[in-house]
Amino acid sequence: MAEATNQNPQGAIESTVVDWSSDQTVFKGVPWGKAMMWIFLLSDTFIFTCFLVSYMTIRMTTGAPWPEPSLVFGLTVFGMNVPLLLIAIMTFILITSSGTMALAVNMGYRGNKNGVFWLMLATALLGLSFVGMQAFEWSKLISEGIYAWENQMEAAPQFGSIFFMVTGFHGLHVSAGVAYLAIIAFRVRMGKYDKKGYDIVEITGLYWHFVDLVWVFIFAFFYLW
Amino acid sequence: MAVALVILLVVIGSVIFHYLNPWAFLPIASQWQFIDVTVYITFWICGVAFVILGAFMAWAINKYKYREGRFSRYEPENAPLEKWLTGITTIGVVVMLAPGLIVWDDYINVPADAMEVEVQGEQWTWKFRLPGEDGIFGTVSTENIDSLNPFGINEGDPHGEDDILITTNTLHLPVDRNVKMLLRSKDVLHDFWVPRIRAKMDMVPGMVTYFWFRPTEVGELDILCAELCGKSHFNMRGTLYLDTEEDYRNWLSNQVTYAEMKAGRKPEEPIVAEGRMVADKNGCFACHSLDGSATVGPTWLDMWGRSVEMTDGTQVVIDEQYVRESIVDPTAKIVAGFAPTMIPYELSEEDLHALMQFLQAQTSVEEATEAL
């Protein structure tokens, strides 16, 4: 899209029209894989939207009280209860991983194979640590008596249900992303993309940034509301 | 030619069928005749469109049938014609929609003077509740529901004591009075529908839905369930009697309130009470009544010791052996007039014994001696 805008200085709307009415490809210079990933992410957006809208509906219609997030998601450090500490760290890690991913894509453009490999590996490791912390968070909640079907806080049982379901679904996305990153990273190192180019790194990056973005919404709706 | 003719015949045939067939809306028994009017408006607009389009198609097929070497008229677009057609369609849509929305507005806004009747749907029968003398319904909660408190009225709520409870699948209403039906369900989705009233609305567990109407004619109307609610959905019927004010008063005076229902209950022996709990827990009362009304299954009132005709024509005496078989293998012998919808139950020997005692207790001594 960026290139097209450069070719057609008339403006965004006109260049869009030109793109869509041209033959062969709508998105100029965009490899098939990247177009597919965009469309997949659009579809995936609808999945998460449905989850979040269901969550809002349930939360607003349930008769039972909803627990205070800053109390539920607290962490006791040195005898002090710090609300949302763990989540803040998790969010920080995930956003950092997006940064390393962006650097990896940049290295890909420059053809720096080693840079791509190590940065993607770093991204995967950050993702893995996120999943690990999520597992810790879950087991902590479960040990405090919050289950998917009920809880011992006299709060709506849907609190646990929707929390475990949505964060679990996001966690699956992160886990899949970690595997995806690792596979691509090692394939890069093996030189599978030397001839084809490093488009695949950018495609992987798209997915990873999406997962990160979804987390921002989950964070806002579950922990700050 | 032949194809065009058949298409034309299909169109003409449809119109003829419309005028000759015996099926139309049932005679309306409420003030909702505007619903019917809206249907007729839509019907006419759509009917005319159908005939014109179908006839044009037949005509065009015949008129422009294939001839080798002939060229069609090359005309990629005809903007004025398309604009006209779009405009006409839009007008037609507005003419259909506007009255519909006006009547809908009427449908959802209940007049202030409407009397309230609560309907509770459950698999697969209807129960009704009137607010009683104080005009206020007692509050309810689902946890309280059992065979002794079918609506789950909260104990200690004074408004609940005088509520009139009707568990016989029939409801009487006076004509010419606005009625607001409050719809509840204790288990799954149902839909309270009286075809001759026109109105219907789903009943959703955990919610109270509503509609209103004003009966205009005296009569006996079918109540149907219009939302698939399980295997006996088709059997979930009731009767609505539209009475004159006087008949209605008469009927009303014979109904029992919740307080009377509690007071009139004879104390039960412990084993009988235990049997009632077994029946409650296993949901027997969903299909078997204790008041003589036949719902999905036969009533348990005065059943014990009787000789009853089965679907295959044989006579069977209702005794412990028959009942035990019917619990384990319900479709083996079906009482004539009922559908084989019951599922098999596995009960412990203790529970079965208590249940037998409870069932026997539902047959009064006089009945039992008479049957013998």
Binding site: F46, I58, A64, W149 | L53, G54, P195, A339
Partner: protein, 577 residues
């Protein structure tokens, strides 16, 4: 625009088959995958057809006692779900989509042949999981194809344990299959067209499939999410859709859930689903009518924009399925209005099909007969939709046989007629042989007139109030008079004849494959690109050494001053000099 370069399309790497398995079973050729999709969909559709005939016998002759209520409710559920998802969606997108998109866009194959192959096999898996429902304890679910909770998972419904689980699992797997296929279709249409093939030169078939795929990718997520939530409700005891209830006397552990939330999610998927089926049918019909009328489709640009408009609008009309479901009554105003607005672009499409016949040269081939009968059926199904979409009229008519007649006309018979017509139209390109004309005509007349006799009078049962989904109407009553008994007898007999006559079509498919008349490369004289392949049937890779170049739209029929009455899309424009 700097063009003429085709970096991917021209030199696309194709995985050529090495053995029988990779040629016919794990093939990555879009044409083979299309046939696989088609055969599987027809096979599972036959199951649904048999179920429907059994149900018809029960409705007309309950005294024969051929089935239990459990079986009946399981049959309505399986019939509905199979027809909507596993036959119509799979056939129109999986079979027609796979076959038409690359050929009509001038691509060598789908953008991702391997994912495409996977898509079919995941679809096959979903079909198998669905059918497993008949072998698990309790049988398949009998909750109706809408699967409304709470009844789906409470004891009064057949198959409330394992049947509903296999059903939801199968749907989730189907959605995965659909997503894999759908990403292919969209990417191919957007990024893999040949030289000169602009979007506004694409045949309407491709446009319809393209829009429908978009709808599917955005609508199926809602079904996916609701399937997950219902499975959790069933198996780990969450209460998403389950309020506190007393099921058959037993107090269940649920509390505080929202049955209506499921309905909103379901119909957010379910309404676009109607158009997922309808839009490809619209496209195919447009092409068949245009080819056989020897005339360009009337108002092509408007047809495209109508498809796009219908697609977008279909996302904001879903709650017209819920007018009497107990949602907030003010929604009624909004959704009735949007629903009737969608009638305008739909009506435009109907006008344009009919106006294509006007001053044309109409050739009544068998595909054309199917297409014309589609138009008539669709008009009837469309205008009855105007009844049900108008909120107050929906009140007396919803959940009656009027609804059954309406959706069978518009979403059952109409797209099925298109499928018959479409197969007939492309069969020569798929196999290199023509289908038998005589059998085709016999099958057409039985099917068209038969279904009309079945469904047209059924609307009137809805007026007297005969409710749908009744296992047995239990004798004569106000809403089910003796005349309705007779009508149902007639309908059942006709339905059995129509059901049996479908074997004719299948016989025709098999017979013609071996014995059919050899087809020329372009037997219908069609202008669109799929008829210009160097071989018939096209080999793997479709276009030989070089991709075709497109010079015109797909509808150059009867162009004045030309010697033939059609000009193929790849024929160059006459130079002005």
């Amino acid at each position: 625009m700097a063009q003429a370069e085709i970096p991917y399309q021209e030199s696309m790497e194709l995985s050529h088959p090495h053995s029988w398995w990779t040629k016919y079973w794990f093939s990555q050729d879009h044409k083979v995958i299309a046939v696989q999709y088609g055969i599987t969909a027809i096979a599972v559709g036959l199951v649904a057809l048999v179920l429907s005939d059994l149900m018809r016998i029960q409705i007309a002759f309950p005294e024969w006692e051929i089935m239990s209520p459990d079986f009946y409710y399981q049959a309505i559920t399986m019939h509905g779900m199979i027809m909507v998802i596993y036959l119509l969606t799979a056939f129109l997108l999986g079979a027609f989509g796979n076959f038409c998109i690359p050929l009509m866009c001038g691509a060598r194959d789908m953008a991702f042949p391997f994912v495409n192959m996977l898509s079919y096999h995941v679809y096959l898996l979903s079909v198998l999981i669905l059918l497993v429902g008949y072998f698990v304890p309790g049988g398949p679910t009998g909750a109706g194809w809408t699967l409304y909770p709470p009844q789906t998972i409470t004891a009064g419904t057949p198959g409330n344990e394992w049947g509903i689980t296999t059903m939801l699992a199968s749907l989730a797997v189907f959605i995965v299959a659909f997503t894999m296929g759908g990403l292919n279709y969209i990417t191919t249409v957007l990024q893999a067209r040949t030289r000169g093939m602009t979007l506004m030169r694409m045949p309407l078939t491709v446009w319809g499939i393209f829009m429908a795929t978009f709808l599917g990718l955005l609508a199926f997520p809602a079904l996916f999410v609701s399937a997950i939530m219902m499975l959790l409700d069933k198996w780990i005891g969450t209460s998403f859709f389950m309020p506190a209830i007393v099921s058959l006397g037993e107090h269940l552990e649920y509390s505080g859930g929202q049955p209506l939330l499921f309905q909103h999610l379901f119909w957010f998927f379910g309404h676009p689903e109607v158009y997922i089926v309808a839009l490809p049918a619209f496209g195919v019909v447009s092409d068949i009518i245009s080819v056989n009328a020897r005339k360009n489709i009337f108002g092509y640009r408007l047809m495209v924009w109508a498809l796009v408009a219908i697609g977008i609008l279909s996302f904001i009309v879903w709650a017209h399925h819920m007018f009497v479901a107990g949602m907030h009554p003010f929604f009624g105003f909004f959704f009735a209005t949007t629903t009737l607005i969608i009638a305008v672009p739909t009506a435009i499409k109907v006008y344009n099909w009919i106006l294509t016949l006007w001053r044309a040269n109409v050739r009544l081939t068998v595909p054309m007969l199917y297409a014309l009968s589609f138009v008539l059926t669709f008009i009837l199904g469309g205008i009855t939709g105007l009844f049900l979409g108008n909120v107050i009229i929906d009140v007396p008519l919803s959940d009656t046989y009027f609804v059954v007649a309406h959706f069978h006309m518009v979403m059952g018979v109409a797209p099925i007629l298109v499928i018959f017509g479409g197969i007939y139209h492309w069969y020569p390109k798929i196999t290199g042989r023509m289908l038998n004309d005589r059998i085709g005509r016999v099958h057409f007349w039985i099917t068209f007139l038969g279904t009309y006799i079945i469904y047209f009078p059924m609307h009137y049962l809805g007026f007297i109030g005969t409710p749908r989904r009744y296992f047995d109407n239990l004798g004569v009553s106000d809403f089910y008079p003796m005349s309705a008994h007779y009508l149902n007898d007639v309908i059942t007999i006709v339905a059995l004849v129509v059901g049996a006559s479908q074997l004719l079509y299948i016989y025709n498919l098999v017979y013609s494959y071996f014995r059919g008349e050899k087809a020329s490369p372009n037997p219908w004289g069609a202008a669109s690109l799929e008829w210009c392949t160097p071989q018939t049937p096209p080999e793997h890779g479709n276009w030989g050494d070089t991709l075709p170049t497109v010079h015109r739209w797909a509808y150059d029929y009867s162009v004045p001053g030309h010697d033939k009455d059609f000009i193929a899309q790849n024929e160059p424009q006459r130079s002005p000099a």
